[in-house]
């Protein structure tokens, strides 16, 4: 490159101009993001609450209203109004006459792709799980996502036995996964052909969660009656 060509190059930008562009645009971008976040937050929270409400009434069709409860360190439950979003909660469900009809419990575990988060209904009168709703999953479309759509699989949860031993200290039979079509006992879950991992994951999530929550709920049924 000759001397003239070098001189003809545009002068380098002032340091101040580079700072101005990056910092200025960063500030504007930050301002825009926070504004939109604040603006949409109530709507998004409402959507989440509504999705949860819908799911509760799906897993416990008899329910007309629900209240959230938190597990106390002493073992009992207390009613909560403003729960932190990551808190483990149990939703007690009531019918029109505010009679306790059952519970909805959130549970989660690893699926094929990512965490599966689901809600299941538990009826203390029937000692059974009455339905599940997948709240969050990224299972393979067309295969793993059959856990949300496969009618035969979902029929497993219409009345899945979770009865307790005599002193209420634990489940009489843990929930079990069996190969498609092999279900014999009311606590077994028939898998889905082509979605083995995802359906096994759902069974595993339910087995773990029901073994923990069902005895605790049944031992402290009175705590939920108080909210009537």
């Amino acid at each position: 490159m000759s001397q003239e060509e070098l001189l003809a190059l545009p002068p380098p930008p002032k340091t101040w101009h580079m700072y101005r562009a990056l910092v200025g645009i960063g500030l504007l971008g930050g301002f825009l993001i926070v504004t939109v976040f604040e603006f949409t937050r109530p709507v998004i929270e409402r959507n989440h609450a509504e999705a949860l409400r819908q799911a509760i009434f799906q897993v416990l069709p008899a329910a007309r209203s629900s209240s959230s409860f938190r597990l106390l360190e002493t073992g009992g439950f207390e009613s909560v109004n403003d729960a932190a979003s990551d808190e483990a909660l149990v939703y007690a469900c009531y019918d029109e006459e505010r009679r306790l009809v059952g519970f909805a419990v959130q549970a989660q575990g690893m699926g094929y792709q990512d965490t599966i988060r689901l809600l299941y209904g538990y009826s203390h009168a029937e000692d059974a799980i009455t339905g599940i709703q997948v709240l969050e999953s990224r299972e393979t479309p067309g295969l793993g996502d059959k856990i949300e759509t496969d009618a035969d699989f979902l029929a497993n949860f219409e009345r899945l036995d979770v009865s307790l031993v005599g002193d209420l200290s634990g489940l009489a039979n843990l929930i079990e996964y069996v190969k498609p079509g092999m279900k014999q006992d009311p606590w077994q879950i028939d898998g889905i052909t082509g979605a083995t991992i995802s359906s096994t994951a759902v069974a595993g999530i339910l087995r773990k969660s029901s073994a923990v929550w069902v005895p605790k709920i049944k031992q402290h049924l009175d705590d939920f009656m108080g909210a009537e």
């Binding site: 380098p12 930008p13 101009h17 580079m18 101005r20 562009a21 990056l22 645009i25 960063g26 504007l28 971008g29 825009l32 993001i33 939109v36 976040f37 949409t40 709507v43 998004i44 959507n47 989440h48 999705a51 969050e136 990224r138 393979t140 479309p141 067309g142 295969l143 082509g194």
Partner: protein, 217 residues
């Protein structure tokens, strides 16, 4: 600023049309393949992804074009990404507010619009060198072209892979679905088939032009 003579002659309508067809981002430029292959398993997801990208593309083109004299060349990439990331975050919140189901379906791919090379490509190649109006038209054309491309893939994959379109069952229950079409490999097959159609068409057109007018370039 060097002006391309070809660009100087074209009107903003041309900027709009070129993205839709002649320089279609999916079928001609083959850009932004990550969402094209990943989120085109149903027509609805494809359309939603396309529209989200369209919004980000138009907004970032408009912003970058109006700030183009203010951004020194040395920091332009960082600034462009900052602008694009801002609009992607806005879209992310907007989709969550519109429909949680849709947000669930698009998953991580909304955030990944930031690194869609189509958007940074248009910022670098067009918006940073052209006035706001034309940049917006360019963004609209490219965004709609991208949406069209995604929809072409999504529709074929959903029809063959799930036997439905927009969730509406199309065939009798006896129809054996092609599961492979909704799996990742189905995305590649469908894209290849569409590219074949597009290339065959443009080749035929070029041959006809050359034969009919006897123009050799």
């Amino acid at each position: 600023m060097a002006t391309n003579p070809a660009l100087a002659e074209s009107s903003s309508t041309d900027e709009f049309i070129k993205g839709l067809w002649r320089e279609n981002p999916v079928f001609v430029q083959v850009l932004g393949m990550c969402p094209v292959l990943a989120v085109s398993n149903t027509a609805r997801n494809a359309l939603a992804m396309g529209l989200a990208t369209l919004f980000v593309l138009v907004m970032s083109n408009a912003a970058i074009s109006s700030l183009r004299n203010f951004i020194p060349k040395q920091v332009r990439i960082a600034t462009f990404i900052l602008i694009i990331a801002t609009f992607v975050t806005v879209v992310d919140f907007a989709i969550q507010a519109i429909s949680l189901d849709l947000h669930k379906a698009l998953g991580a791919f909304i955030a990944l619009i930031v690194v869609n090379c189509l958007i940074l490509g248009r910022a670098e190649a067009f918006a940073s060198k052209n006035p706001v109006g034309r940049s917006i038209m360019d963004g609209l054309g490219m965004g709609l072209g991208f949406t069209f491309g995604l929809f072409c893939l999504g529709a074929v994959r959903e029809i063959l892979g799930s036997g439905s379109l927009f969730g509406v069952q199309l065939f009798h229950d006896d129809f054996q679905i092609w599961v492979v079409m909704i799996l990742p490999s189905g995305g590649f097959f469908t894209l290849a088939a569409w590219l074949l159609v597009f290339n065959a068409y443009s080749e035929r057109k070029a041959r006809r032009l050359a034969g009919g007018e006897e123009v050799a370039e």
